[in-house]
């Protein structure tokens, strides 16, 4: 690095930019579609994680425990997005005071609702002998039942005894049995056993020396993946009986969970994370330039993406790649204004809609949501759209622009650029810019028939728009063609496999696991990339629940001279 210091900073930056853009990152071999029986590689088991619960997992779990009419009003502190997913960031997230405060307020609010007169009749399975005295028997019955659902495992006898004692002691000062339950519940809901998903390992009897997630940890992993919620009673029962360790027992539960209406909730949660839909919370457009882009339209645009995804991947059991070419979608009243399509529906809800052959729109890249998300407040952005496609959908990093870019060409008031294509031509002419912008602009220019709010147009500033472009050698002439090119991109497949896997295990995917992901990709190459197929392939894989020996045990084993339990590295 010392040698590089002698270069001027400008040259250094230019050099770094070129170097950065010319490398594509670690190269993955293109999946071979000719290999008939790819053999599954074995990978070293990963360490257990301690993952912070997400806002939707929290709300859904509460609904599962206490019923959907319990009001949960909370906004979680933002979590670092790691490797494209908040789910991965949660495995290293920290609860600062500022982040814990709203959780405390929420815990107390939920506890108060659960024991109020309206809810106690059906949530609490017993009635105390006296309403103003402690009743340990009733408290024990209730707290054992609800604590198991909250902690996602049975309470230990120690925990239960302590909880009953707290509930009883709290009756005195308040003179109310239910207040005692309320305080205890609020403690449970602020406990790390609820707020963090803690993976527990146990020795795997089927593979001596190896470890597996215990039954309750398996239940949590399955439930958060498939339902975006904590395990229900039946899943916990299956875990308790050891059925999740048995392939048939596991399949029974997975079939049940995928067949449940809550499965759609799980699918939505994955795509909300993967497609970075959090940006819709703060998405606004200039009201003068795009007056129809109301807050309700923003909500509806976000919902359109998720409805399309769920309809395609769940109801139609479609191939993931076809999300970028499907003409089936849903429209709502305010969103339809931006599409200029009439809808026979009032202000709430949505109607199914199918774009016709020849329509300029097909696939989610031509939906208002995507187009507006990756654009400026008052105009479109080919660079942002191209970058969004690269980074989110193809898992390809696009480097940041260098600090001192020369915008003088665009700034020239005599330039009279009509279209974005003309403005961005400058990116291609300047060698400092061309390296990175060649990776983004030719893609995004395919979407130029859609303005910054996603509305269709054929002209910009009077000039006819040319929406031709290319994606890694595949050329197209409009947004529909771009969707087809994305559909055919090899990176699309490896990216969804990578992301779905990382999401399902809730942590960063290590370099040792690359071979496993390539294996999954090659299997799916033959079977097709239907979402349920992808999930089952991963869940039923022998490595899904494998876990490394616990750190503390490994440390003590390393320290001891015994050899009988040392962990294998398969």
């Amino acid at each position: 690095m010392k040698a590089l210091r002698t270069l001027s900073s400008g040259a250094l930056i230019a050099l770094l930019a070129l170097v950065a853009c010319s490398s594509n990152g670690p190269q993955k071999p293109a999946s071979s579609s000719t290999s008939a029986n790819p053999s599954e590689p074995s990978v070293p088991p990963p360490a257990a994680t301690l993952r912070l619960i997400s806002q939707s997992e929290y709300a859904n779990s509460i609904a599962g425990v206490f019923g959907a009419d319990i009001t949960v009003k909370i906004r979680f502190a933002p979590v670092n997005r790691v490797d494209g997913l908040l789910s991965v960031g949660r495995s290293s997230a920290v609860l600062t005071s500022g982040a814990l405060d709203p959780l405390d307020a929420s815990a107390r609010s939920i506890a108060a609702q659960a024991v109020d007169p309206a809810h106690r009749r059906f949530l609490i399975p017993c009635v105390p002998a006296k309403i103003d005295a402690r009743d340990d028997k009733c408290a024990r019955t209730f707290l054992a039942k609800v604590g198991r659902l909250i902690y996602r495992r049975p309470l230990t006898s120690d925990e239960l005894t302590r909880a009953v004692e707290t509930a009883g002691a709290a009756v005195g000062p308040s003179g109310d049995f239910y207040a005692g339950l309320r305080y205890t519940l609020s403690a449970m809901l602020i406990s790390p056993e609820f707020l963090f998903v803690r993976e527990m390992a146990e020795p795997d009897p089927g593979r001596p020396g190896a470890w597996r997630l215990d039954g309750y940890s398996k239940a949590s992993r399955l439930s958060f993946l498939l339902w975006d919620s904590g395990p229900d009673d039946e899943l916990l029962n299956a875990a308790g009986r050891g059925e999740l360790h048995d392939p048939r027992g596991l399949k029974r539960q997975v079939d049940r969970m995928i067949g449940s209406p809550l499965y759609k909730q799980g699918v939505r949660a994955f795509f909300a994370d993967f497609l970075v839909l959090e940006s819709f919370d703060t998405l606004t457009k200039d009201p003068v330039i795009y007056p129809a882009f109301t807050l309700k339209a923003v909500d509806e645009a976000r919902e359109q993406i998720l409805s399309t995804v769920v309809d395609h991947l769940v109801d139609r059991d479609g191939d993931y790649r076809d999300l970028f070419t499907t003409r089936h979608t849903f429209l709502s009243s305010d969103l339809a204004v931006l599409y200029r399509i009439p809808v026979d529906i009032g202000s709430q809800g949505s109607v199914p809609y199918e774009f016709q052959e020849g329509d300029p729109r097909a696939g989610i890249l031509t939906q208002i949501g995507f187009l507006a998300q990756y654009a400026h407040p008052g105009r479109s952005s080919s660079t942002r759209r191209g970058r969004g496609i690269r980074e989110v959908l193809l898992c390809q990093k696009v480097p940041d622009p260098p600090p001192n870019v020369d915008f003088s060409i665009i700034e020239d008031p005599k330039a009279h650029f009509h279209t974005a294509r003309e403005r961005l031509a400058a990116h291609q002419q300047n060698p400092v810019c061309a390296g990175c912008h060649a990776r983004t602009d030719p893609i995004g220019l395919g979407l130029e028939n859609f303005d910054g709010a996603g509305q269709y147009r054929t002209r910009e500033n009077g000039a006819v728009i040319d929406a031709s472009g290319k994606l890694d050698g595949n050329t197209f002439s409009d947004g529909v063609g771009l969707g087809r090119a994305v559909r055919e991109s090899p990176a699309l497949k490896s990216c969804i496999v990578d992301r779905l896997y990382a999401y399902s295990v809730g942590r960063k995917v290590g370099p040792d696991e690359t071979a496993l992901l390539e294996y999954y990709e090659s299997v799916l190459e033959q079977r097709g990339f239907r979402f349920e197929e992808m999930l089952r392939l991963m869940i039923f894989d022998r490595s899904f629940f494998a876990i490394a020996a616990p750190e503390t045990l490994a440390a003590s084993n390393n320290a001891s001279m015994e050899e009988s339990h040392h962990a294998h590295q398969d």
Binding site: M1, L4, R5, L16, A48, T49, R75, A77, P78, V79, N80, R81, V82, G89, S92, A93, V94, L95, T96, S97, G98, A99, L100, T166, A169, A170, P173, S174, Y183, T184, S186, A187, I190, S191, P192, F196, R198, M200, T282, T284, D286, P287, I289, L295, H376, P377, G378, D400, P401, P403, N404, V405, F407, I410, E411, P413, G452, P550, E551, T552
Partner: protein, 450 residues
């Protein structure tokens, strides 16, 4: 510089190494510092505890119309600082202080503010190589009030916060004035001037219940790895802070003569970063913040006016402030970008409002602002080139007379961490240096020390 008794740390921070990972564990309040009034000072009759705040605006300034031509006191107020005229007496302005990256890339709209907040340039986007100085200061002076620190963002965007322990522990900001009102002055607010005070038995119950949560700590931590244990430690620290807060609520709060809780929440504002809307949100939040400080709800506060890549917009403009800084032509006559500098002007109008509001609350022999030390800065100097040399910085407030005001200090190319170091020392942190690599410094800016 003497460490004044009022700034003795009530919370000592253990730093250690565990399996190669730095560990921070906070010890609870040392009861010996607490007296009936809840302040270390009341026994000695000295002034109210000092407060520390930060104020951030994105996308810097335009040097030619920002940098005063003279240094020292009575500096000429340049064009871009005109809206700060009324608060000039409270300010110090610092120019020509640099951020040095030691070869790490200058990450646009990132490296600058990261370095000025935690003392070190990051090596990659998303990386935060240390905790921000307001966190260190809150550790030292933040206990004893209901909230350890307050974070606000006028943009209303949940990720706009520059107060952090690490990349995984960014202090979340309040994004709505209405929610902030509920938090400060809602049902759990205890009016310090209320004649009758009765400890709420519910609060006592909550406290004892929370201590039950902490009881399971050992069992749980025994089952997780070293890195996760550190995260759980932070969780338990947060629980302990919650308990301490409840403990405070059981004691009669010290009187606060200027405290007058607003009777109702402000009007709800829609989502959006239009510059007029941001101004409304900023002012609504500032009004509440000032009263929260007057009511001793916290001693540390952070306000973000615009995010580091300023996504602020103006009606009818198709691009954000950020894009304007890159695409707008430099006016040949004026020599700067007119539209971009309008946004800077708006930022300083808001800073002026912020400071005037603080200065408008009488406290002791002066104003609330006189007992504050505020650190205001941006992410770069000239947004067009993302220059991190000469990032503009201000201090505001007199910190009980510990700091001089009304000065223009020329940094002569020194690292900008000199200011952050000075401020932490003024707030009583027992540190002897701050920052890493070329940003490491042990030299205070003596010109401003009284």
């Amino acid at each position: 510089m003497l460490i004044k008794t009022e700034n003795l740390t009530r919370r000592h921070v253990l730093r250690g190494i565990l399996n190669g990972a730095a560990v921070t564990v906070s010890l609870p309040i040392l009861e010996m510092f607490m007296n009936d009034n809840g302040t270390a000072m009341a026994a000695t009759g000295e002034a109210l505890p000092a407060r520390f705040g930060t104020w951030f605006w994105g996308l810097g300034v335009n040097h030619d119309i920002f940098t005063p031509k003279t240094v020292g006191p009575n500096y000429d107020l340049p064009l871009q600082m005109q809206s700060l005229e009324k608060v000039k007496q409270h300010l110090n302005v610092f120019t020509n202080y640099n951020v040095l990256t030691d070869g790490r890339p200058n990450l646009c709209h990132y490296t600058g503010w990261v370095a000025l907040r935690c003392g070190s340039a990051p090596s990659g986007r998303g990386q935060l190589p240390g905790q921000s100085l307001d966190v260190a200061i809150a550790d030292a002076v933040g206990s004893g009030t209901r909230f350890r620190s307050i974070c606000l963002t006028a943009t209303g965007a949940p990720r706009d916060s520059y107060s952090f322990l690490s990349a995984d522990a960014v202090n979340p900001p309040d994004i709505s004035a209405v929610e902030f009102y509920q938090k400060m002055f809602g049902s759990e607010f205890q009016d310090p001037n209320s004649p009758d005070f009765k400890p709420d038995p519910g609060v006592m119950m909550r406290r004892s219940v929370l201590s039950g949560v902490s009881e399971q700590r050992k069992q749980i931590e025994a089952t997780v790895g070293a890195a996760d244990k550190v995260r759980l430690d932070q969780y338990y620290t947060s629980i302990r802070e919650l308990e301490n807060r409840l403990e405070l609520q059981l004691k009669k709060p010290p009187p606060a003569p200027s405290c007058k809780a607003p009777p109702r929440a402000p009007a709800e504002l829609p989502v959006g970063v239009d510059v007029e809307l941001v101004s409304l949100r900023h002012r609504a939040m500032t009004d509440l913040l000032v009263m929260a400080l007057a009511c001793n709800q916290s001693k540390v506060f952070n306000m973000v006016y615009s995010d580091s890549a300023s996504s602020l917009t103006r009606k009818g403009l198709d691009k954000t402030h950020h894009i304007v800084t890159h695409e707008e032509v430099v006016d040949p006559v004026k020599g700067y970008q007119i539209e971009a500098s309008r946004f800077v002007g708006d930022s300083f109008k808001e800073l002026a409002y912020f400071l005037e509001k603080l200065a408008g609350v009488p406290e002791g022999d002066g104003s609330l602002l006189d007992h504050c030390l505020i650190y205001a800065h941006s992410d770069c100097q000239l947004a067009k080139t993302h220059s991190i040399d000469g990032i503009p910085m201000f201090t505001a407030g007199r910190l009980n007379g510990a700091i001089k005001t009304g000065l223009h200090v020329d940094g002569k190319g020194e690292p900008g961490t000199r200011l952050g170091y000075t401020l932490q020392r003024l707030m009583g942190l027992p540190i002897t240096s701050w920052g890493q690599g070329s940003m490491q410094t042990s030299r205070e800016i003596t010109e401003i020390i009284a």
